[in-house]
């Protein structure tokens, strides 16, 4: 019942705001002045629930929750900082991957491009896409049908190694092959 009254009052308040009505409010004693009224009266339940949920603390496990599962037989390839060109090592790995794809013609994969945490996030999303495309195109050139590989970039959002070291960065600049979900 009380809630209803509150709701009603809020409705009136919202209406007043919507109409931009300069409503007279009781002035402070001894002062005469023009008055205006404004308010933020419609905060949603969405926001209220968010408030309680702030305390939840968990260690994120993005590898399983967002990205797919790695396919045995399809190896990762790694890249230099701010580069999407394939190193000789990467080409060797991709040639093996291409062979695997040809021997397993039913397999379809998602080619995921990833970056290290240095660099701008948005730029890294584009860079990760280029890495994924470079890997895919190389495998296409080796005879893997393009329609069996789709690409996606996760930028720097899913590091293999979250540490802030050269070693970790080198591991995170990669392309992975995941099963199509």
């Amino acid at each position: 019942m009380k809630m209803q009254n509150v709701g009603k009052m809020m409705f009136v308040a919202v209406l007043a705001v919507a109409l931009m009505a300069g409503c007279a409010k009781k002035p402070a004693p001894g002062d005469t002045m023009g008055t205006t009224e404004m308010g933020t009266t419609q905060e949603s339940s969405q926001q209220d629930t968010g408030f309680q949920e702030q305390a939840i603390q968990e260690t994120p496990s993005m590898e399983t929750t967002t990205a797919g599962t790695q396919i045995m037989g399809l190896e990762r390839v790694f890249f230099e900082f701010d580069q999407y060109t394939l190193t000789p090592e990467a080409r060797t790995v991709l040639a093996n991957n291409a062979q695997y794809m040809k021997e397993n013609p039913m397999v379809k994969v998602v080619v995921e491009g990833h970056c290290d945490e240095r660099g701008s996030d948005e730029y890294n999303l584009a860079l990760g896409e280029r890495r994924a495309a470079a890997a895919k195109n190389f495998m296409v050139s080796l005879g893997v049908p393009a329609d069996r590989m789709t690409i996606i970039s996760y930028g720097e959002e899913i590091p293999l190694d979250p540490r802030n070291t050269e070693d970790a960065w080198a591991k995170n600049r990669r392309v992975e092959f995941k099963a199509v979900r």
Binding site: M3, V6, G7, M9, M10, A13, K25, P27, A28, G30, D31, M33, G34, T35, T36, E37, M38, G39, T40, T41, Q42, E43, S44, S45, Q46, Q47, D48, G50, F51, E53, Q54, I56, Q57, E58, T59, P60, S61, M62, T65, T66, D82, R118, G119, S120, D121, E122, Y123, L125, A126, L127, E129, R130, A133, I152, S153, Y154, E157, I158, N164, R181
Partner: protein, 430 residues
């Protein structure tokens, strides 16, 4: 829900307006006004010192951040601080002059159950006049927003331009184990989660009109752009073309969006209508083109491109007639943010030590570093009045949010401990 239903009753003291403030200030750092912020006093029988303390804490934090004031220590206050004298005729200005105060904030509160009334006054001590007075009526839970709103009015009374404190900062946090979208007050309080995508959310932007937010989410298995109404919670996938749909930024009138799409295989910047229809392909180069930021007039867009080798910031004429390079120094410049007044562009530069934030004039002159030292300072975004910049920094080892003044001074952490806080965006006036 009801606790947000507060109403501000604004008392404009007509007789003091035409005269204007005795103290005239424009920018931080030049001179500071000695200001006394008293604890507000009960206007009826109910004494709630924690209410007075919280209001004082909010306005003191805001006004200190502004850099315009020197706060006079409470311990030195004399008898007038404990008297509920709220009219300029009754205030003992002589006492405040003795302490060197030039500005004085006094006020009272009244608590009835959940209900709260606050009367707040700003006085010019030198001319013994009321500069601004406000009466706030709402719930006790609204006290912080009342404080921020009054601080906004204090800046308006003294500088002619309202403060940005009663606004919100959107950001991406991972406290649930997923990267979700959140809102906080400018001082990091009142955190509310806005999304439950259980995925990866990136890079929000507020619509300049209406309480709406644009962001990237992988919810549907691809980096797509979403629009969300903050109050209703209603949400729609806005651009979900093949490849990247990222870094959406509203034009200043809210009617067009610049975003990075890679639907044709290469990341380019496009202008989209609110219905997601492509109005224009703004860039067309072999390189990566990302991170658009509109000029406030909507006639130019700063963006990041590696078309000349390393990532650098360029400015494109929206009509597509001209693209010019903005940053000439540094090997890696990214995340441009055009100031709301149009006079400067903030960006992050990567060098040996990590990212630092710089600003530069849109004509490429007068480049200035704002941050120094260890860690990465990234994602600069301006307050709606251009006085402050919010950014992310991992200088303590945690990815946290900070606010500093537009000249780089006064930096302070706003996000609490625990988890990551990234990709801030500053709302317009709330």
């Amino acid at each position: 829900m009801a606790r947000y239903g507060w109403i501000i009753v604004v008392l404009l003291f007509a007789w003091c307006l035409p005269a204007g403030a005795q103290v005239v200030i424009s920018a931080p750092g030049k001179q500071t006004i000695p200001l006394a912020v008293t604890d507000f006093l009960p206007m009826d029988g109910t004494t709630r010192p924690e209410v007075a303390a919280e209001f004082n804490e909010v306005i003191s934090w805001d006004l200190d951040l502004s850099g315009l004031f020197g706060l006079i220590p409470k311990e030195s206050f004399l008898g007038d601080a404990s008297r509920l004298t709220l009219n300029s005729a009754e205030v003992d200005f002589g006492q405040w002059r003795l302490l060197g105060a030039e500005a004085l904030i006094k006020g009272g509160y009244s608590v009835q159950g959940d209900n709260l009334i606050i009367e707040a006054r700003l006085f010019d001590v030198v001319s013994r006049r009321l500069l601004t007075g406000r009466r706030y009526q709402g719930k006790v839970a609204d006290i912080r927003h009342m404080g921020h709103t009054f601080a906004d009015q204090v800046l308006k009374a003294l500088t002619g331009e309202e403060g940005p404190f009663n606004t919100r900062i959107a950001y991406v946090g991972n406290q649930t184990g997923h990267k979700e979208l959140y809102l906080m007050d400018v001082d990091g309080k009142n955190i509310k989660r806005l999304t439950d995508h259980k995925s990866i959310i990136l890079n929000p932007d507020f619509s300049p009109v209406g309480k709406e937010i644009l962001f990237t989410s992988y919810r549907a298995g691809n980096p797509d752009l979403y629009r969300k109404e903050i109050y209703s919670g209603r949400e729609a996938r806005y651009s979900y073309r093949k490849g990247l749909n990222i870094a959406g930024r509203y034009r200043a009138d809210g009617k067009e969006v610049a975003a990075t799409l890679s639907k044709d295989g290469n990341a380019e910047i496009y202008l989209l209508g609110l219905d997601s229809a492509i109005h224009k392909k703004l860039t067309n180069s072999w390189g990566i083109d990302v991170d658009p930021s509109w000029s406030p007039r909507g006639d130019e867009i700063a963006f990041v491109s590696d078309r000349l080798g390393n990532p650098n910031i360029f400015i494109a004429d929206v009509l597509g007639r001209d693209v010019r390079r903005l940053t000439e120094s540094g090997k890696y410049n990214a995340t441009p943010a055009w100031s709301p007044k149009g006079d400067r562009i903030a960006f992050a530069r990567l060098d040996e030590g990590g990212f630092n934030i710089y600003t530069i004039r849109p004509d490429g002159t007068d480049e200035r570093p704002l941050t120094f030292g260890a860690g990465n300072k990234e994602h600069p975004r301006w307050s709606p009045d251009g006085r402050f910049i919010v950014y992310s920094s991992d200088e303590t080892g945690e990815k946290a949010l900070y606010i500093m003044r537009a000249d780089g001074s006064g930096a302070r952490r706003i996000s609490p401990r625990g988890g990551e806080y990234r990709h801030p965006a500053w709302s317009p006036s709330w």
